[in-house]
């Protein structure tokens, strides 16, 4: 059970199936983890072996394969230090030392909570045992295992992004439905979540909807994107789009987490590099007022959304009002998930060479 011994050596590490390694550590080669060191100052992305002390909000931890494993006091987990910005859950920052801190995301983020939504319980309390290092004693960071931008990248395919008014505005549903529609049409869809906090939920949803490949910022080397610099954010965007292009995607669908008022989202969308990498944006909104505010913000930044969608589409009167006021088509999730969405996209991008329509492969003949 105990993976760690007093001499810092990860003695039982080789058969560590009882140590629960979180989704954020999915790219890590654990055979390179040799020591567990105390007394280090944690940094964003550093791997930490910790013991669960008191179960709070997150009573399960997501494993690399997407299964949510039940947590018990005393469990040993491997997670990554990271900052989290989630108005519906927690705000948290990487602490200064290895003193007890919190599990602030089920995907596996160790951090110290500084604010929480009233609906949340206290976060699960964890007790860091030590930072993982390689045989030379160098701290292991998830960035070590990041995908690198390939040396030569062919011309990228049509790239669409989905942004939203806030957390839980229906962004993921919009992204997922769009992926569903495009993949049912017969396109090989590459999907990526560009900002947010490391967790599998959205990536698995993208795959379940038919994405051939789904990546996120963890694949680009960051456990979460809160407080990252503009350059780092652009690097993530560029790396993910390049990797999806090289993997042969016919179309790329990106999810930009959180609302437009969130610092990183605003930075990214208003950058010129973003404009050269993304062809069109769909905007997801929770309600009418937020949709108007969001569209105004986008227009001020010279971005005209292709369509709006989101939670508000469940209310027909709101849909009617918004379509009239904003003069932007409203697409409900059923419409996005229909292969006929391609007809609309072909209108938006006249002259674009979409891949040949190859209907869903037959299973038996």
């Amino acid at each position: 059970m105990i993976a760690y011994e007093e001499n810092n050596t990860l003695s039982l590490w080789k058969n560590h199936e009882k140590v629960k390694a979180a989704f954020t550590t999915r790219r890590v080669d654990f055979t390179e983890c040799c020591f567990c060191k105390k007394g280090r100052k944690p940094a964003n992305g550093d791997l930490v072996l910790a013991r669960v002390r008191k179960i709070g909000q997150h009573h399960r931890i997501e494993l690399a394969n997407g299964r949510k494993s039940a947590l018990f006091p005393g469990d040993e987990i491997v997670v990554a230090y990271g900052n989290r910005y989630a108005p519906d859950q927690f705000g948290a920052m990487v602490p200064e030392d290895l003193s007890p801190c919190h599990l602030v995301a089920a995907g596996g983020i160790a951090s110290r909570m500084f604010t929480r939504n009233n609906k949340m319980k206290m976060p699960t309390l964890i007790e860091p045992i030590g930072i993982l290092t390689d045989s030379a004693g160098v701290t292991i960071n998830v960035g070590k295992y990041a995908m690198r931008k390939p040396a030569s990248v062919p011309e990228r395919p049509l790239t669409l992004a989905v942004a939203g008014t806030s957390m839980n505005a229906g962004k993921t549903t919009t992204v997922a439905s769009l992926i569903r529609g495009l993949s049912r049409y017969g396109l090989k869809v590459g999907a990526a979540k560009v900002t947010g906090t490391g967790a599998g939920g959205d990536l698995w949803f993208m795959k379940d909807c038919g994405a051939a490949l789904a990546l996120d910022f963890v694949d680009a080397g960051y456990p979460a994107t809160y407080l990252l610099s503009k350059n780092e954010l652009i690097k993530i965007l560029d790396t993910l789009i390049s990797c999806l292009t090289v993997a042969g995607a016919d179309v790329i669908v990106l999810e930009i987490a959180d609302g437009l008022y969130e610092e990183e989202t605003a930075t990214l969308l208003s950058s010129s590099r973003y404009r050269s990498l993304v062809d069109g944006i769909m905007f997801a909104s929770s309600g009418a007022m937020a949709a108007r505010g969001g569209v105004q913000w986008l227009r001020k930044n010279n971005i005209e959304p292709l369509a709006i969608s989101g939670v508000f589409t469940q209310s027909p009167p709101v849909v009617a009002i918004l379509e009239k006021q904003l003069k932007i088509p409203v697409l409900r999730r059923e419409e996005l998930a229909d292969p006929a969405i391609m007809t609309y996209l072909a209108l938006c991008f006249p002259g674009h060479d979409f891949a040949q329509n190859t209907p869903q492969t037959a299973i038996a003949h």
Binding site: M1, K18, R67, K68, S69, A70, F72, F205, C209, I363
Partner: protein, 363 residues
């Protein structure tokens, strides 16, 4: 009339969602698809398209991930009968015809009744039974675990039983397991009756059990409507498997209530009675506790303690303690080793087909 057989295309399995119920299947055995004039049997693998989403919008996959289920998805499910008083009652249909997803672990069946709180079930259109290269339908029983070797000694065995679904049985069982693990004792755990959901299987592993098995390992997806001998055999196979893992204690969860025929079959089986050293009875109220304990005593079982939702209410717990003379333990009590004093030296292992011993004969 002859069966219509088609060939499964190379790579077919990549494009489908494979349910938890198919956890043990060796996919390289799948070669053909029988699409017509076949009668499904419990345990047969069926390739289906999802038609209309109802109660279940998620599907448990082989590796335990809960995947989103979408209109027109293709899934591999397993035919099975299911009886869950809080969800669905469902039976294997006679033909390959439109049916339902009766459990998120991947049971295909025709739903014949449902709890009022359930939405209508998700509907499936079967495309065909998955067959081997000879055209024989693949049944999950073919991939069952081989029974463990015969042993003569055994560790203590604890059964967790309860009044009904949703009384906290899963978490009670997990807490009991974790309590032993915390005390440095290796644990074997299994769920014996009910349907083959992965929930328990993974939860027991998460709680630190060293050996875990469930109905899928016994090659069945559900025990509903099974003859008593078959249920006894499943118990025996899974128990011997855990015994061969050489663990310090075995914890068995018995799904369903004492009145369900399969649970009743187990309770009256001599092999079962003689191999269970004690029961933890899980319930939500004192009256259920009193009745359950009385019936367990009538079957000759020793009852260690009470647990479950009952423990959340101090007043109800007091009532139950007064009515039964047994302690009520909370999850934390179990985690802190409340059952450690119950690990007395157990009697010898009772072989399959043991004769009924006089009640109270176990040491």
């Amino acid at each position: 009339m002859t069966t219509t057989i088609k060939t499964l295309e190379k790579g077919w399995a990549d494009a489908v969602k494979k349910t938890y119920a198919t956890r043990r299947v060796q996919w390289n055995r799948a070669a053909l698809l029988a699409t017509d004039q076949v009668k499904p049997n419990p345990g047969d693998l069926v390739l289906c398209t999802v038609d209309e989403l109802g109660q279940h919008t998620c599907l448990e996959l082989m590796d335990g991930r809960r995947a989103h289920l979408l209109y027109r998805d293709r899934i591999v499910a397993v035919y099975g009968n299911r009886c869950s008083v809080n969800e669905f009652e469902a039976l294997v249909p006679e033909r390959l015809e439109s049916c339902h997803l009766a459990a998120s672990c991947g049971i295909a069946a025709r739903v014949t009744g449902r709890h009022l709180r359930m939405r209508p079930p998700t509907t499936l259109t079967p495309l065909g039974l998955i067959c081997d290269s000879c055209g024989t339908p693949l049944n999950i029983s073919r991939f069952a675990l081989a029974p463990g070797k015969s042993v003569c000694s055994r560790p203590s065995i604890i059964a967790v039983m309860g009044t009904s679904m949703h009384t906290g049985k899963n978490m009670t069982t997990a807490s009991i397991i974790k309590g032993f693990v915390n005390a440095g004792i290796s644990v074997g755990a299994a769920k014996i009756t009910g349907s083959g959901t992965g929930r328990n299987y993974w939860l027991f592993q998460d709680a630190g059990a060293d050996a875990v098995c469930d109905l899928i390992d016994a090659g069945v997806v559900s025990t509903h409507g099974m003859e008593p001998e078959k249920i006894e055999k499943i118990f025996y196979d899974l128990l011997t498997h855990l015994l061969s893992a050489d663990v310090g204690v075995i914890v068995l969860e018995i799904a369903g209530n004492l009145y369900q025929s399969e649970v009743n079959s187990l309770c009256t089986s001599a092999t079962f009675q003689q191999n269970i050293d004690g029961v933890v009875f899980v319930t939500g109220d004192a009256m259920g506790a009193a009745q359950g304990v009385m019936e367990l005593h009538q079957h000759g079982f020793n009852v260690h303690a009470l647990g479950g939702k009952l423990a959340c209410s101090p007043l109800a717990a007091l009532e139950a303690e007064k009515a039964t003379g047994l302690r009520v333990f909370s999850r934390d009590d179990f985690l802190n080793g409340a059952l450690l004093p119950c690990l007395t030296r157990p009697p010898m292992f009772s072989e399959y087909g043991a004769q009924q011993a006089p009640v109270g004969a176990q040491s």
